[in-house]
Symmetry: C2
């Protein structure tokens, strides 16, 4: 196991009606004037936004609002949010929504207290300071509610990039599984797929002897295997929603990923797809993961065979056969919850593959020419992987 530091000081208020505690929580973490940041109409229509405002009113905490966050959140709205916060002397950002809204809130929080262009952080500058953030989560997916990460897409060139820093870890997150019961099945399944990707990408390590985190990751994938189909079948299954929601947070706050190398290849290759075609991130991952795993399997067949046996109940004695059967089982599972498995289903085009691979390897010119992770992939490798998705 490698040396590591782990610090995850987010306060989680989990369960039915927990959003009613938002005013109290903002106060507890020092907020005196709040920006409520959210996405489209669903949090308005469901009445959630009103309940959140009521909870702030009850503590006499003033607020202003900025809606309009889109999936694959854009830099344009972040600049608007930063300007609004400065003008209104906001000292606390409250994200009401999913990963996109939380990531956009994190970008605003870091940008408000920074003299330069917030995009610097998404080009590699570490985030050291930010306004405090709270979240009311409406979908189990990105894990952003407990993570120090944020992903934003820059409109100019449609570059999708990540930034990180403990300063943007939420101070608190309200996780009420009941809020996710109204999600369409497709979005629910996209969230489940994102969580599974966060787990596989931690599992695919080059660090030896990491039994504890191996077992924790397997446990969380098994939870998704059990609960995923149940929640697709019955969207109102509160307990299944609750297990997925807690698993989604634990999957990505990194308690199960410490002390080991990780593999963000699938996320990196997917980011090119959702940036180019604006497809759902989870759907993109469902297409990307099996291709990446098939291409990299030979790098450590034993590891793929182990997860196949422990998680997918594969009984094949031969490691390579078992490993392949495990990837097939993942595909069957993803298809079963309604996810796409091919480029065409995403609206992605074979003709774009060279461009996608080039952007994945070189970004806007600052990239190294390689995608680093479980294996090191050259542009040629990445082209081959995208071709496996056809």
């Amino acid at each position: 196991m490698e040396n590591f530091d782990f610090y995850a000081p987010t306060y989680f208020a989990f369960g039915q009606n927990k959003e009613s505690e938002v005013g109290k929580l903002v106060k507890q973490f020092g907020g005196t004037k709040v920006l409520i940041h959210y996405g489209g109409g669903s949090v308005v229509k469901s009445g959630l936004l009103d309940r959140v405002k009521k909870a702030l009113d009850a503590e006499r905490i003033p607020y202003c609002e900025l809606g309009g966050v889109m999936p694959n959140p854009r830099s344009g709205l972040v600049y608007q949010g930063i300007e609004l916060c400065k003008k209104e002397s906001i000292d606390f950002i409250l994200a009401v929504g999913g990963g996109s809204t939380i990531d956009s809130s994190k970008a605003i929080a870091a940008g408000v207290v920074y003299d330069g262009d917030f995009w610097d952080f998404y080009e590699g500058k570490r985030i050291e300071n930010a306004l405090p953030i709270g979240t009311v989560l409406t979908i189990a997916a990105a894990g952003s509610e407990g993570s120090p990460d944020s992903v934003i897409t820059k409109e100019e060139g449609m570059l999708k990039r990540g930034a990180s820093g403990n300063a943007i870890r939420p101070k608190f997150s309200v996780l009420n599984p009941a809020l996710t019961q109204t999600l369409p099945a497709y979005q629910t399944a996209c969230g489940i797929t994102d969580i599974i990707a966060h787990l596989y990408e931690r599992y695919l390590t080059n660090t030896a002897e990491v039994e504890c985190t191996d077992r924790l990751i397997e446990a969380l994938i098994m939870t998704m295997v059990h609960e995923g189909p149940r929640v697709i079948e019955n969207p109102n299954n509160y307990d299944a929603r609750a297990n997925i929601m807690w698993a989604g947070m634990v999957a990505h706050n990194n308690i199960c990923g410490v002390g080991r190398s990780q593999d963000w290849t699938s996320h990196n290759l997917e980011h090119e797809l959702s940036a180019e075609y604006d497809c759902a991130h989870g759907a993109g991952l469902a297409v990307v993961m099996p291709a990446v795993f098939t291409y990299t399997m030979s790098h450590d067949v034993k590891r793929f065979a182990t997860i196949a046996r422990r998680v997918w109940n594969v009984e094949e004695a031969d490691d390579e056969t078992a490993a392949k059967a495990g990837i097939e089982a993942l595909k069957t599972y993803l298809k079963g919850i309604g996810m796409p498995l091919t480029f065409a289903e995403l609206g992605a085009k074979k003709a774009d593959i060279e461009k996608l691979a080039h952007t994945a390897c070189y970004g806007d010119g600052s990239g190294s020419g390689f995608v680093y992770g479980f294996t090191t992939m050259s542009e040629e490798d990445v082209i081959k992987v995208y071709n496996l998705m056809l």
Copy 2:
């Protein structure tokens, strides 16, 4: 799943030589004058205490020392520590040792800022304020390095009682697995047993539909099953030590125990044994757990059968047979790492059973007459359970 709040803001510095960062960490968490609290000679002899002092010196942080913490830490030393801290205007407690030293430090930290008798907290008063605490852990066992709990024994009447509160969660904990390599096999095994008890006692729940935390707990027990014998066989196996150390923290910071009822029956019945006979807590648990599980198995045979199949690879189709085989497998495992399984091996006496059961149920007079947990046990039940340990 039940509603819950979860907040675990301890900073973990994990790995080789991490104790060299102690000065920097104390500073980061606001300490300006430190009490170094420790146990017997091992931290002195090993040179660890000197390394810790050097790290504080490097940051020019003054300190004073209080050694002498014993296993099953006593109230007497806590009173001394409180007096010393007040006299020396200490504002940070640094525990260098295992669970006993950390628990003693927590009691001192709470007592210094409290006008009354610190023992009030161990009679049920919630701890709301305390001096900040840091730890340098020397044994994977109690999980106190990441928990809000403390257990102290009052010399008068040898009462062993617990207190709790987020204020006594360590601000930071240094976890260097190499520091545990010099532990005698017996102490290592006692620590392993304590961790396993923390997991079983979270597993035995009356809450339905808790797949995520069920799976996480199973994952951690499987880690102990794998790594326990390896570390007993080769005390210098750093990676096995590391996996056990992280598992021990995760087992007890409660991330795997949220949203479900828990069962602290084994700990409660064991506390009477270690208070009366001053046996090692882990050794006591090895004797107590199989008896408690055998006695309560019929309350939810399915749950015991599930853990038997998932963790202990029991293949029996009949639930009751499987459940029993799982408890037998646990006993075989505990015996294999050198733990006792009977009253006699602990130095405990059949003649004392009625007294032990009475204290377990009534404490110093404030108890209810019952031990609450997975089942509700009357004094008569507790007597029967102690008799199963003969």
